[in-house]
């Protein structure tokens, strides 16, 4: 997918999660679609404890996907063990889609695609031939 290059903007810049990060396509280093951003993992947020003034703000530590679609529609959240993580450190660029600096098949999140590819599609004659 050809993600359009944004003009060089201010650094640092401000974005809103629902407008610019959530539900966006994630592309790997070869520009192959990997997943959709279902949710974001945040660091250093303590729940049910008063936050002392001067506490540093949380940062995004990972992109999340998994059963989050259903929970974002109906409420609740999946247990942490069922969420697929992509480290924020692997994010190379934020534009109309998010690009990673790593290849998709190194990531856990692509296991369904790899499974279908190896066990079903790859077994049909012609599954590996280049259509161009």
């Amino acid at each position: 997918m050809i993600a359009r290059r944004q003009q060089a903007g201010a650094n640092p810049r401000r974005i809103d999660a629902r407008l610019s990060l959530l539900d966006r396509q994630v592309l790997d280093a070869d520009r192959v679609p990997v997943q959709v951003v279902g949710d974001l993992e945040l660091s250093h947020v303590s729940l049910d404890h008063p936050i002392p003034p001067g506490t540093p703000a949380p940062v995004i530590t990972a992109l999340l996907s998994g059963p989050v679609l259903a929970t974002r529609i109906f409420g609740g959240r999946p247990p942490t063990s069922r969420l697929h993580r992509i480290d924020w450190a692997d994010v190379a660029e934020i534009d109309v889609a998010l690009s990673l600096s790593v290849r998709g098949d190194t990531l856990d999140v692509t296991w369904v695609e790899r499974w279908v590819s190896e066990h079903i599609i790859g077994r049909i004659p012609g599954g590996h031939s280049d259509p161009q």
Binding site: M1, G104, V116, S117, S129, P131
Partner: protein, 413 residues
């Protein structure tokens, strides 16, 4: 010279690819009952699909994003899933109608029962999706579909009363001479059906995904604009020719359109066996082409919404879920047809449901076409937006009126 040939190919493919089983059946039904008094709907529909295809093509070329990616990003999960469910199901219904249409056309050509052709048709559709290069697929089905021009030729050969046809077209409130009187509600029900047949949503999924498949960029926009603005209206003229032929041959004898035999009757009367041969080639090509497009659209909608790797430009093993989804959709369509349901009936419902689903795809495209984050400086101009808003209203009205009219008129009985 090459450039000129390329442009001509694009336009011809657009004309030949414009018609599908929905257009063939609906225009025929409408012509046989209402003459050309619903002709204005075809014109409204053609302008609408030109607008819609242009916007979605521009969005895809400039932003590199195809329709369902945009729908998910702009509407969020809740509205996006609802949109996906409705669009996907209606697309599946249209797919079923098109595969059925291929089988019906092959039956006319061979006198072999359609139930035997259906698995063959479904398999052939899959095989082409699996192996054939995107542009070859488009060009071959589009060019072969051009033989449907025989509908226009047939109309001339029938020596119709042009004045009468013109009267019907320009005085839509007056029932055509010799027609069985129809209720006003039935007239408007068929107006919506005809609108849905012209503005098929799958066309837009396919067009915008195709733009990404063929790696369009900004410099391809001019050529696509030409294809759309010349090709689609000429395709619309063919729609009118089908309706006019039905008005001339079927309406006076009150012949009801229940199968493809009645759809091709005007051609048979005008040109005999040779004309029939041409029209059958055209119908097989047009419905097969539409079956390919709806199958690919079902893959595109799911893959783009869920963020899977997709595209015919990739090896199937690198777009595995995309391909398995399409295989499953074809099997579902085949399963529905195997229950013995009449493909013509499925077609008649699919066009109305297409009209109902239209706002779901149209609104996100209209919004994104105005968003500088996606479009840069290629956002909609004021004229496009004016047309865009007018059509948004038309589409919403048609969508909301469809079900009540369907109930009141008993689905146009």
């Amino acid at each position: 010279m090459n450039k000129l040939l390329g442009l001509a190919l694009g336009v011809l493919t657009a004309i030949g690819g414009f018609l599908d089983i929905g257009d063939l059946v609906t225009n025929s039904v409408v012509g046989s009952r209402f003459g050309l008094t619903l002709g204005w709907v075809v014109i409204v529909g053609v302008v609408g699909i030109c607008l819609f295809a242009q916007m979605s093509g521009r969005v895809a070329a400039v932003s590199g994003r195809a329709t369902f990616e945009i729908i998910r990003e702009r509407l969020g999960p809740r509205a996006g899933v609802a949109n996906l469910a409705a669009s996907f199901l209606i697309n599946l219904m249209t797919l079923t109608a098109e595969v059925g249409g291929v089988a019906l056309a092959l039956q006319l050509a061979s006198s072999i029962e359609p139930w035997l052709w259906m698995p063959v048709a479904a398999f052939a559709v899959w095989l082409v999706v699996w192996r054939v290069k995107f542009s070859i697929m488009e060009n071959v089905t589009g060019l072969l579909g051009l033989t449907l021009i025989v509908f226009a030729v047939a109309l001339f050969l029938l020596h119709p009363d042009w004045m009468q046809l013109a009267t019907q077209a320009f005085q839509p409130s007056v029932a055509p001479a010799g027609a069985v009187p129809e209720a006003g509600t039935t007239y408007w029900y068929y107006a919506i059906a005809l609108f849905g047949a012209a503005m098929t949503p799958y066309e837009v999924f396919f067009f915008s995904s195709g733009a990404v498949e063929e790696k369009w960029s900004i410099k391809d926009l001019g050529e696509s604009r030409l294809n759309v603005l010349v090709g689609f209206p000429l395709g619309g003229i063919l729609s009118l020719a089908i309706a006019a032929g039905a008005a001339v041959v079927l309406l006076p004898k009150q012949i009801a359109v229940t199968s493809l035999s009645q759809v091709v009757l005007p051609v048979a009367e005008a040109g005999g066996k040779l004309a029939i041969a041409f029209v059958l080639v055209g119908i097989v090509a047009a419905t097969f082409g539409a079956a390919l497009e709806t199958t690919l659209s079902s893959g595109y909608t799911l893959a783009q919404f869920f963020g899977w790797s997709w595209g015919k430009f990739r090896k199937p093993a690198q777009a595995a879920r995309f391909h398995i989804a399409m295989i499953i959709c074809l099997l579902i369509g085949l399963g529905v047809l195997a229950t013995g349901v009449d493909p013509v009936a499925v077609t008649e419902f699919s066009v109305v449901f297409s009209a109902i689903a239209l706002p779901l795809t149209y609104l996100p495209i209209l919004l994104v076409a105005n968003d500088p984050q996606y479009m840069g400086k290629y956002v909609n101009g004021r004229v496009t937006n004016a047309f865009g808003m007018v059509y948004l209203v038309i589409i919403l009205v048609a969508s909301l009126a469809a079900i009540p009219l369907m109930i009141i008129t008993g689905a146009g009985a």
